[in-house]
Amino acid sequence: MSVLVYTENWDGLFKKQSFELVSYASAVAGMMNTKVTALSIGKVDAEELGKLGNWGAEKIINAVSDELTVFDSQAYTGIIADIARAEGSKVIIFSNNISGKALAPRLSVRLKAGIGAGVSKLPLSIEPFTVYKRTYSGNAFAHLVINSDVKILTLAQNSFDLTEKPTGAVPETINVSIDSSPVRTVVTDRVQQTGKILLTDAEIVVSGGRGMKSPDNWGPLVELASLLNAATACSRPVSDEGWRPHEEHTGQTGKMIAPNLYIAVGISGATQHLAGVSSSKYIVAINNDKDAPIFEAAQYGIVGDALKILPKLVDAVKGLKK
């Protein structure tokens, strides 16, 4: 028996979310009196792999294959399924991110394992196996019982604290063959920005809505974000108007995010917007309408003209840095 955690790597490196995931897996394993195996697919060097052991991974497997040069959900599922079987894994944990959403459902069918998607807490109980899961886009949480022998969980990002637990596990690299699930995905083109803080990874997000009035007013918002090491985001009308890139659109039909701090500037706080940001630990609202619904979701608020307030916030943060 074991808990298997799929630790994705980005060009051979892990992120904080990888370690959160291992910390979570380790706590689940603790509840079940078993151990954590971490699995990463694609070449990662031994030192980087070893870091997974700082957060409770007792076994660290790096599966590599020359045939795997692109992300193919069938081939990846095949590898994870083989290792889950070999490890006798009863619970398999993914991040609820792009790759987790791609792989968990396929693996669910392959192993006949029920999924708890987007869990944000430890299981409420092991017998029956009950998880706490977001539903109705954050307007309700379900106690979901997973009745299958093997269970799959996808963990909402930024929902579990890092818990140090060094194991000294020595990583093993295994060569896998992917004959059983041939790679059928061909990538013909790729554009990728590097060096930018990804919205879904950011601990602080500064977001602008229609109340910013014009794309020309974004200067101080972007400056505030960069001073805070934050990512920038926006409401849907803002990206629909082309004021900001589509990647920044947050909400029900955009990105779901859960940073430690979400600063909403000139955003009214429509249900569909809140659906994507309500899991943030703190929400700050800056809006000139004291009745805007965003203030109901916020812990700190300033009622006033965003265009006047933003430059003052920039100055205040600059003062802090001195």
Binding site: S73, I115, Y136
Partner: protein, 249 residues
């Protein structure tokens, strides 16, 4: 090429969710049901692809797992422009069960491109599309933000961390779509609404399949502390509170 769009029936996105039966189910009284927003956009894109005859899309079908009471949602999809519809007469008890039913019908009817939304706005499971593909043993491409045709074959754009890739897969395949797939949902025209009444809806009875999960109960999100207001003349106080009280910067 035959396209299938899987549609789910969900409460309108502004619905205030209330519980019933000792918090074990949702109180459906007064709820307006709509096509899941992602599925509506999927349907829109499928119809756009069909409109351009060079793409060779022969038909756009919608499939739904649900009881007869969800017929209005199906008729709405037909009014928007789907050619025909399939309803599997069962309640969609969990993602595994639902995907099993859809896969069974897809096997019988045969489709080249199956489009599913990234999630339903009610259960937020993000699972049905990938499960359908796995039941059928066909490729799936997820986080798809664009579908177009080039030289008669579909090209998909998928989101990756910090960027996007253009991807080709062999049909049949499942595309699991998200933001960007279509700009605005297509609205039913008067003529669409008239013709929807006579378009065929094939009803299948469900096959035996397992559900792997059950909902034991619901709870409301924890209430947030009341908002603390900061003097707009002194925004620096906000920064101070974020640093020393909330400790998030």
């Amino acid at each position: 090429m035959k396209i299938l769009v899987c549609i789910s029936n969900v409460p309108d996105t502004t619905t205030k969710i209330k519980f019933a039966d000792g918090n074990t189910s949702i109180d459906t009284a007064g709820i307006q049901w709509v096509i899941n927003p992602w599925d509506e956009l999927s349907l829109t894109r499928a119809l756009e692809l069909k409109d351009d005859q060079a793409n060779g899309v022969k038909s756009v079908t919608v499939a739904h797992v649900g009881p007869a009471s969800s017929e209005p949602t199906i008729r709405k999809a037909l009014a928007i422009g789907a050619d025909d519809a399939i309803r599997i007469n069962a309640s969609a008890s969990d993602a595994y069960y639902t995907a099993f039913q859809l896969a069974e019908v897809i096997r019988k009817e045969g489709f080249d491109m199956i489009i599913c939304g990234i999630e339903s706005s009610d259960f937020n499971g993000s699972a049905v599309g990938g499960m359908v593909a796995e039941f059928l043993g066909i490729p799936s491409v997820s986080s798809v933000s664009g579908i177009r045709f080039e030289g008669g074959s579909p090209l998909l754009t998928r989101e990756i961390d910090g960027g996007r890739e253009t991807v080709k897969v062999t049909a049949p395949f499942v595309a699991i779509v998200q933001k960007g797939i279509a700009k605005e949902p297509r609205i039913a025209s008067m003529r669409g609404i008239m013709t929807a009444r006579t378009k065929p809806v094939k009803v299948y009875e469900p096959v035996a399949a397992d559900s792997l999960t059950t909902v034991a109960g619901f709870e409301k999100p924890a209430p947030r502390a009341a908002c603390r207001y900061i003097d707009p003349e002194n925004p620096a106080q906000l920064i101070d509170l974020l640093q020393n009280e909330a400790k998030v910067i």
